[in-house]
Amino acid sequence: MKTFYFKVLVLVMVALSFPLQSFAFGATVRYGGYVLFTIPCTCSAGTFLVTYAPLHLEGIGKIVAQMVISPTVQRWAYEQFVYPPIMTTWQLGEMTIGGECLMTATPCIVIPAYGTVTKTGASYPGFSPL
């Protein structure tokens, strides 16, 4: 009986040791990326669309993608405050999959974004890790 319980316990522990990764809308993913350029989302004041190349996403890999960032984004402690993100800076933070950048038109044109930045910090402009 003890052996049975022990086996069950081992199985449960093994199962729990697998990381549960989900990249559905709303899931938080850690990222780091280089700000290639930034544009204002003119139909949603204060919001910007940032093109990252490269963009490293935890559990996903290295891609090139655009993400939305707003002035209410959380900043890492002791990191630089750079808003809107400026070209040639590196950023580190957290994002959620999915986002929208609204551009002025009638009705506003919705530019879909790969993600939305929820937490960030930045390097000095022009900083190169290479």
Partner: protein
């Protein structure tokens, strides 16, 4: 059971008692629709200052704070943000309050009202002008709503047909009781459930012509910058995109950086490309079904193409087209291969 066992049990019990703060810090972004104990905390804090009081009576008033972040709370947050503009709005590049409790607003609230600090970024925490055990600052001179919450118009159709339904996009609209001022005519009692767009029917009594249009909210504040709308008998043709070519634009010295778009409803004289690379205004179409633009017309393109990090990157270019007939309901994507 000996003394040591008693001591052990006592210690375990002590450690199990949760340590609670009477005043919890606000640690997340709060906006209209948010619910929770931190919303109630926010209302309590705002009610401590007469200028940012949620309400004098009923839900939200002092002693009747609720856990729901509604329109009145948002209004009070706007007042708070305007009051501490230098520390909250200016660093975020804003001039008017947003009503959303983001990091700057949280930092100011928590610092002013001696709530345990959780925002640790140096830039966010105002300097120590307020001793940690001080009482809240004295209230500022009486606040009047006339300095805030003016409706803002972001997107107004250029041409509309009499009797058609029109949507205006903006900010600071009231939930109910908005008025559209159409030249000398007024269309009243219009609701805006999300406070960001207003839908109304163009009066059939209006003559053809161009009118200044503004929006007034329920506290009698009128958008300060009016826009113009041309009223006609002809239904404007909404532009549509069917295809764009090439699907991959290769950026190399001497390469063709033009993109040809096929669709319908393009203006022969004035289209705007709105895209993930920015905007290009005054794009002429070769016909109502075809137009061409160049990547070089995006303001930042020349700067981006020489950036070594762009080399080898395939960047999505997602775009739509706007003109006097409206805007494309769907965008299209191609790739720019640097």
């Amino acid at each position: 059971m000996n003394f040591r066992q008693h001591l052990l049990i006592f210690s375990v019990i002590i450690f199990c008692i949760p340590v609670t703060n009477l005043s919890a810090a606000i640690t997340r972004t709060l906006s209209i629709g948010s619910r929770g104990a931190d919303v109630k905390e926010l209302q309590v804090i705002l009610n401590k200052d007469i200028t940012t009081k949620i309400s004098s009576t009923g839900p939200g008033s002092p002693g009747n704070e609720t856990e729901y972040f509604g329109f009145l709370t948002a209004k009070a947050v706007v007042v708070f943000q305007e009051k501490y503009k230098k520390e909250i709005l200016t660093p975020a590049g804003l001039t008017l309050g947003t009503g959303t409790v983001g990091s700057f607003t949280r930092a100011k609230l928590n610092s002013l009202f001696n709530v345990p600090q959780t925002v640790t970024t140096n830039n966010l925490v105002p300097n120590n002008t307020v001793p940690t055990n001080s009482t809240p600052k004295a209230s500022a001179p009486a606040f009047t709503y006339t300095s805030i919450s003016y409706p803002i118009l972001y997107s107004v159709p250029a041409t509309v047909k009499r009797g058609s339904t029109v949507v205006i996009y903006g900010a600071n609209f009231s939930l109910k009781g908005n008025t559209i001022i159409f030249g000398t005519e007024k269309i009243g009692n219009i609701s805006s459930p999300d406070q960001q767009k207003i839908q109304f029917t163009v009066p059939t009594t209006l003559q053809n012509g161009t009118y200044n249009v503004s929006v007034q909210n329920d506290i009698q504040l009128t958008s300060q910058k009016s826009s113009t709308i041309t009223v006609t008998d002809i239904q404007p043709i909404t532009p549509l995109i069917f295809d764009a070519n090439p699907k991959i634009v290769s950026v190399s010295p001497g390469s063709d950086l033009r993109v040809t778009v096929t669709g319908s409803g393009f203006s022969l004289t004035d289209n705007t490309i709105q895209s993930s690379f920015g905007s290009i205004a005054n794009v002429k179409a070769t016909s109502e079904s075809e137009l061409t633009f160049s990547l070089e017309d995006f303001a930042q393109f020349d700067q981006v193409r020489v950036n070594p990090y762009a080399k080898g990157a395939s960047v999505p270019l997602i775009f739509g087209i706007a003109n006097s007939g409206g805007s494309t309901p769907k965008t299209i994507q191609i790739l720019v291969q640097f």
